[in-house]
Symmetry: none
Subunit: 123 residues, 4 copies
DNA sequence: GTGGTCTAGACCACA
DNA sequence: GTGGTCTAGACCACT
């Protein structure tokens, strides 16, 4: 499934987000093998160098682990994944609050807007 | 007041956001004159060309209006400003929901997280 | 009646066009007195310097004539006005043809488009 | 082929017009790669920054699409191109009619003048 | 004094 | 190699 990327952010970042989301969400479980660089590149319609960079940076975040000759695997450190999930959550919340305040919205308006929207999407 | 910019986003975008936030928030009212290009450049510690680009792009968004030889002014179209405020709000909310869902959080978790955080900051 | 000017062209040009159109069209007849600089400036909501420039440039085109202490008058040289009208017509037609050809339209398409539009406006 | 630009309009606008004409006319097809910024700069005898601006503004009009590290391409959205062609046609026609009316010419005079001229040029 | 355009030259991230 | 951003500095037209 070739992905359509946003034009305003680097592809490698979008791929990183995509993968770490899948991992944090549990779609890819600890110990799971990621597709090979070449395979994933074909899959997503992206240059292999780009995928390579994605894997490399995910490894630096200790989210995945590359094993010589075997491939790249989701870390088995469940604690790390939980921690990461919290981190990402906090980051989103902080940003949301900051930006909404800068627009002049109050806490109540944020929550109301959120509820209106989330319900509208039938969640 | 020279600004310290983030390194991961173009300066001109950060300045655009800053100004449109000030406008949408009502700190700069319809018809108000913005600082001159040169003045704002000194203010923010940025090259005049960069400020020029900021003003030009804000004008394309019909948020401000440049008048030859007189300066740059906040649009007097209050409707447009209200619309803009809604747009920016929607955009933030949509992004927040999307990202949180991708992390696997439910609507309730979003709102709870939000309330916990916002209160913690004493809003 | 204050005029709303386009932002993309100098005001003095737009005023020149307006006046020379009125003259060429016969709304202002040969020998007619134009409003004083100050008066016309107030009328149109424009800086007197700008009106002054307009009159000066119209004089260079021998369309108007300024008489010391009396004011500015439409030229009484009717031939000149006829000639001017033809010139402006030719200029418009040439430009129209050139631009439409550059867009890849044929002569027939031009005329059809023109008829469709002109009729639609009930002329 | 270095271009000789008019002095009364910004270079970047003239380049925009030139390119969008070529695209609308079909000389550059959907998906075609435009010359690189540097290449086109040399081609036209203009500073690369100026070409850059041209491409950026064409992108905002969704006529072209810049892909990081790959180049700038004509949009593949044929609908958009058809729409654009119509838009540009309408714009020319409207302007022509407006200006000719302001000069006091009737619809018939416009069409006659047009036919006389267009035939004279052997179209 | 105001915005607008353009050049020259540099650096960076991306693919 | 590609586009994107930024700076420095200059010139111009408009008001």
């Amino acid at each position: 499934m070739p992905i359509d990327f946003q034009q305003d952010r680097p592809i490698y970042q979008q791929l990183m987000d995509r993968l770490s989301n899948e991992i944090v969400r549990g779609d890819r479980m600890p110990g799971d093998k990621l597709p090979s660089v070449r395979e994933y590149a074909v899959d997503t319609g992206v240059n292999p160098n780009t995928v390579s960079r994605v894997y490399r940076e995910l490894e630096q975040l200790t989210i995945v682990e590359s094993r010589r000759g075997q491939g790249t695997f989701v870390t088995e450190d469940q604690k790390r994944l939980n921690q990461l999930r919290e981190e990402l959550k906090e980051r989103q919340i902080d940003r949301f609050i900051t930006e909404m305040k800068q627009l002049g919205f109050s806490e109540n308006e944020m929550i109301q807007g959120l509820q209106a929207k989330a319900k509208g999407e039938g969640n």
